[in-house]
Symmetry: C2
Subunit: 410 residues, 2 copies
């Protein structure tokens, strides 16, 4: 007997027929004698509907009220799944965030889970009762108000509940059957991974792979929650195992590179002829930091005179704000022109094997150059490197690297 958390996203609970299918997955685990907590998202489309109303009511909404409204979607699906499970003869009850409670801080709209009291859910296991937990939501214990964790927060709910219940496993059911070496829509030869290390998954998610929320991976890593990504559309009687996210030590056959991620959510800004003197970097990046704009890749190229060119990237959504801030600070920074490009893509190769292998990135630079792909910027860290290139070369670059590191299907 094991203790499991199973998480189902919006497309898996989009209507009652799909909720019945979810219940069949739960029944399979119950029939095998496991204790099960299920975490559910809102029916797909519902959260958007609710957010739409909030924005129509007032663009500058009170985030506490936003949370009260938007959390209702998960409340509905948790009740409905409990009802369907009961119909199958499986004792079940729904739990809203405040009922467990799932305590968060007061950062409404993107709250962080502080503490989960699993006692009452575990009591329910003693009665063979499935706990159906509304994902994405919690409660601020000081104000007693409902909070939400931000988009995709149900993944985080699931991992946090798994940690609180000391679950043996957290299964994240999605509309794909696992984590792939890269997006199969771009590279048909992409392979599903049997296992991927927490650190790798964290980089994959941060660098553009949409399969899991970054924060849920962080939490799984910190608490050592064995997490599977698997398909809710598999036959409930005979599902595939999916991809296990686990400790590096549990991966036997290690590749140097495990996956290729890419993100079009990047905009490049280059400041020309910046005075090459101390304090100039601060003049550029402090106002951006104060405006909560996340600066990613930074490169600095010295010119022959006493000036330098500085290039960096910001999220596309922040591009207009970033440019306005820099133009305003132009005199203080002292650059000649600001050049910008939103038509770029960041391509990243990730693998814990890079720690023990050298020259991995250099191979990539050579392979990309051979295809005539110009690299605009590079960043590297211990287990990944990223290159910024023209968006037009996305498919070519991803396929080139995927093949270069031996990730293509046999």
């Amino acid at each position: 007997m094991a203790r499991l958390v199973m998480k189902f996203g919006g497309t898996s609970v989009a209507n009652i027929e799909r909720i019945r299918n979810v219940a069949r997955h739960v029944k399979r685990e119950i029939d095998e004698g496991h204790e099960v907590a299920v975490v559910v998202s809102a029916m797909s489309g519902k959260t958007n509907e609710l957010v739409g109303w909030v924005n129509e009511a007032n663009k500058h909404y009170d985030p506490r009220e936003y949370d009260a409204v938007v959390a209702s979607g998960e409340q509905v699906t948790s009740g409905l799944l409990a009802i369907v499970l009961q119909e199958m003869g499986i004792p079940a009850r729904s739990w809203q965030g405040w009922q467990i409670p799932i305590e968060t801080n007061d950062a409404h709209g993107s709250a962080r889970i502080a503490r989960i009291d699993g006692a009452r859910v575990i009591e329910g296991f003693g009665r063979r009762e499935v706990a159906v937990v509304a994902g994405f939501q919690g409660v601020d214990p000081l104000s007693g108000r409902v909070s939400t964790l931000g988009r995709g927060g149900s993944d985080t709910s699931a991992v946090a509940v798994a940690a609180a219940l000391h679950a043996d496993r957290c299964d994240i059911y999605t509309d794909v059957d696992g984590v792939y070496t890269t997006d199969p829509r771009i590279v048909p030869k992409a392979r599903r991974l049997d296992r991927i290390a927490f650190e790798e998954m964290l980089e994959m998610a941060s660098l553009g792979a949409k399969v899991l929320q970054v924060r849920s991976v962080e939490m799984a890593m910190v608490h050592g929650v064995q997490t599977f990504v698997r398909s809710s559309f598999d036959d409930p009687a005979n599902p595939r195992p999916g991809t296990l996210i686990c400790n590096e030590e549990d991966i036997v056959e290690e590749q140097v590179v495990t996956g290729i991620a890419f993100s079009k959510d990047e905009a490049q800004i280059t400041l020309r002829k910046v005075a090459d003197k101390p304090g100039v970097a601060a003049a550029i990046f402090q106002p951006l930091a104060q405006a909560n704009i996340n600066v990613d890749m930074i490169i600095q190229v010295a010119s022959d005179d006493s000036t330098t060119d500085i290039t960096f990237t910001v999220p596309t959504a922040e591009f207009d704000r970033a440019r306005a801030i820099l133009e305003k600070a132009k005199d203080e920074i002292g650059f000649s022109t600001l050049q910008a490009s939103t038509d770029v893509v960041k391509i990243s190769a990730i693998g814990v094997g890079m720690r023990s292998h050298t020259g991995v990135a250099a191979d990539a630079f050579r392979a990309l150059a051979r295809k005539g792909i110009n690299i605009r910027a590079i960043t590297t860290s211990e287990i990944k490197f990223s290159v910024l290139i023209d968006a037009a070369y996305t498919e070519l670059a991803v396929r080139t690297l995927h093949s270069l590191y031996g990730l293509d299907k046999a």
Copy 2:
């Protein structure tokens, strides 16, 4: 300065534009210096959508889960109205039933309010904050689970909140501008009443008038909450006062009959040739009571032999169940045939003036007979009488009585 509760139903909060209109009504009262708690229903259609999902999930649903699902509709509108009020510069916050708390018993799906702690809402008034309360819902304090009060329960929420807050007034905003002498769709000469006594309103609601929930009127009567029924579609800057529901003593010019109600939700059952012996009534009505079937009008006509005919009515929705129960107990009861009719209507005249006037019902019987309307059954009580007639005569009978008692518009 007064303390007010304002209640808005589903059609009044059906979309953001209408919620803005509700906020204008609230603003008017705030501008006059009043303390305001608003109680809201779900957007019209939303509760039906949620109930539909529950029934699709499992016709024999767990009422605790039904409540968890269905209560979400009011949660949404309370948050949205708070946001819209804030946009108008009016401090406001939403309150879910469990947050106040509005404590109920554990009769999920049709729970009764046991206790409301108004302290935190009143604290909010001290900060000039409008309390936007999700109607229809509460919490069972023992289990900590969300409960709902049954259809139309938001009226009851509003009156109960008004009682708990010791409000000076409870304004129920609806899609009509008050309580009428009868349904204006049937009788164009129907008049809006300025005032109606609690007892009269209670009978009107029980006997078919749909303007207010029966339970909310009971509660208003018990706690002496002055309640207005008025229109949410009036100009928020210049609304009409509506109808005041108040103590009998506060009504100066009293009519003998205040209103005519009618209900098509009646089915007639006649058992022929029942043995006229002690215990036979128990044999008929006990099994119906045990099945929670509400028997209303009962008449017994002795035949010339030692048998009797017994006629009574049950709610249309319970008709099939009632018939099945009686057919099953046929031998025990000992009747010859069961005759039934669902094509009947109960028409009632209500007025506290009946207490001090005699012959009121007799006038009606004569007037109906003159129009050739056959009366199938009669019941009377201190302040009302009801007749059961063929449904085809509904309009004729209602108009006849409306005119007879001088209720037609001048």
